[in-house]
């Protein structure tokens, strides 16, 4: 199958600082790919570049066969920012129905997405009165309702309790099973094990493009946190002092 996302030679500068250094990778369709790395490693910038709202210095990004940010991709690619980007002074339902109308999806699709993220009971509440975890899920619902073919999620599980986190990951895999391509960023390494594939990002460089199993085998440890550390040390050893 064709790749859902292909990135070659991607360089991004913000101000005078280089944030992404010559990235190249491929995201296979219908899988959950994890974008793992510490805070400040460039995950959000990469996701913004994929969705076409980031000024890029050089490189090529192809999403579903088209240049990132193409008008025709806007109804096919869903993007959920790290900070919940929903209207605090609207109810969950009003938010969902507004975004649904932008995608030409009906209010039934909006209400279903709200129920799918477990906010059915809170649908009539103002977003500003929700907990931060609920806000994040409201924001997620507004992307799900468009039934995107590619879903880019920036740290969607931050601040969620463990039960919700597991349920959300189950939902991601259900979406992938139905054909959606997901790229999920996280700085929590214990989430790496839940991904089909892993991209490890550190200081704007791609350290690994692998599967959890292959990464464990390569580094000789079952602990992915430890595996990440070993990959970092490997790279540092390779660099001339």
């Amino acid at each position: 199958m064709d790749a859902a996302v292909t990135v070659t030679g991607l360089v991004v500068d913000r101000g005078h600082r280089r944030v992404l250094h010559d990235l190249a990778f491929v995201v296979p369709p219908g899988q959950v790919t994890g974008l793992l790395g510490p805070s400040g490693s460039g995950k959000s910038t990469l996701l913004r570049a994929l969705v076409g709202v980031q000024v890029v210095r050089s490189g090529e990004i192809t999403v579903l066969g088209r240049p990132a940010g193409s008008a025709s991709l806007r109804s096919r690619v869903g993007y959920v920012t790290q900070a919940p980007s929903v209207y605090a002074d609207l109810t969950v339902r009003e938010n969902a129905r507004f975004f649904a109308s932008l995608y030409g999806a009906g209010s039934a699709a909006a209400d279903r997405a709200v129920a799918d993220v477990g906010l059915g009971d809170a649908a009539g509440r103002l977003v500003r009165d929700l907990s931060s975890g609920q806000m994040g899920r409201a924001s997620l619902a507004c992307a799900l309702l468009a039934r995107p073919e590619v879903l880019l999620l920036d740290e969607p599980t931050v601040g969620l309790d463990p039960v919700l986190r597991v349920e959300l990951w189950e939902q991601f895999h259900a979406l992938a099973a139905a054909g959606t391509t997901l790229l999920v960023s996280s700085h929590v390494m214990d989430e790496a094990g839940r991904c089909d594939r892993l991209l490890l990002l550190r200081e704007g460089r791609l350290l690994a493009d692998s599967t959890p199993a292959a990464l464990r085998a390569r580094t000789g440890t079952d602990d992915l946190e430890e595996a990440f550390l070993r990959v970092v040390r490997e790279q540092q050893a390779e660099l001339p002092a």
Partner: protein, 261 residues
């Protein structure tokens, strides 16, 4: 999450019609206002209270109140809508919803037109209330029909919305946004002919006054004030104000960058 995981197949939505997305934005803006009753109350009541204050100020000189009060009907909605819109747009920017909107199929002109229509409607309501209070309770008098006063105030409010949208592109914080008000609005108020008749201004001030859109809104109101029927000059004035609003919306769309660093 008690519901079973969603197993919805991706894709397959029809596209929203262009007009539908504009209406969706308008509806959303009005819904946000509806959840904020205090803002609605302020929008509707404050201009009338200020007009009442002016009436009291010029009790002995009702002809001054007729002149200044009438012009105020253009200035209030312009100022208020400029402020409300620039703050609303700035919130959209800082909350991340603007970036999100730019990744959806919503065209940028539809976003701005939707905003213009939403706040324009709110402004129409405000203009209707203020005009009703001015003419009904405070004894404001014009030679021409009051209906035109409401129309002029409305178009002027849309100008405020459009300039607010444009200026918010250059504001990075609420502090900056609020200070665009004196920069953009006050010179227009000073030079519109309210404080000093335009004929008495120095040539260069008149030249500046000539290119400021509020001048034309005020001139249109003065036409209504002094002529029993709608004049051609008033129509031209209104067209200039509407054209300036449209130009500001186009510029706002042009400055709304999809890609940022």
């Amino acid at each position: 999450m008690t519901a079973a995981p969603a197993v919805v197949r991706p894709g397959g939505h029809s596209h929203a019609a262009p007009g539908a997305t504009t209406l969706a934005v308008t509806g959303r803006v009005l819904r946000q206002l509806r959840h904020d009753p205090r803002t609605i109350a302020l929008l509707l009541v404050v201009p009338s209270l200020l007009l009442g204050l002016m009436d009291a100020l010029w009790t002995e000189q009702p002809q001054v109140f007729d002149r200044v009060g009438l012009v105020m009907l253009a200035i209030f909605p312009f100022v208020v809508m400029f402020l409300v819109t620039s703050i609303a747009m700035l919130r959209e920017r800082t909350s991340g919803t603007l970036e999100r909107l730019l990744t959806t199929p919503l065209p940028r002109p539809a976003l701005l037109l939707g905003y213009g229509a939403g706040f324009g409607l709110a402004a129409a309501l405000q203009a209707a209330v203020t005009t009703a209070v001015g003419f009904g309770l405070l004894g404001l008098e014009t030679a021409g029909p009051v209906g035109w006063v409401v129309v002029i105030a409305m178009v002027d409010a849309v100008l405020g919305v459009a300039l607010g949208l444009l200026c918010s592109a250059f504001a990075r914080s609420e502090f900056q946004a609020v200070q665009f008000m004196p920069v953009v609005v006050l010179p227009q108020v000073f030079l519109c002919g309210l404080l000093v008749p335009r004929e008495l201004m120095a040539g260069w001030l008149q030249a500046i006054s000539d290119v400021l859109p509020l001048t034309y809104a005020v001139d249109a109101l003065q036409e209504v004030g002094s002529h029993p029927a709608a004049t051609g000059r008033m129509a031209v004035d209104l067209a200039v104000v509407a054209g300036a609003a449209l130009l500001a919306l186009v510029l706002a769309a042009a400055t709304l960058r999809r890609r940022t660093s």
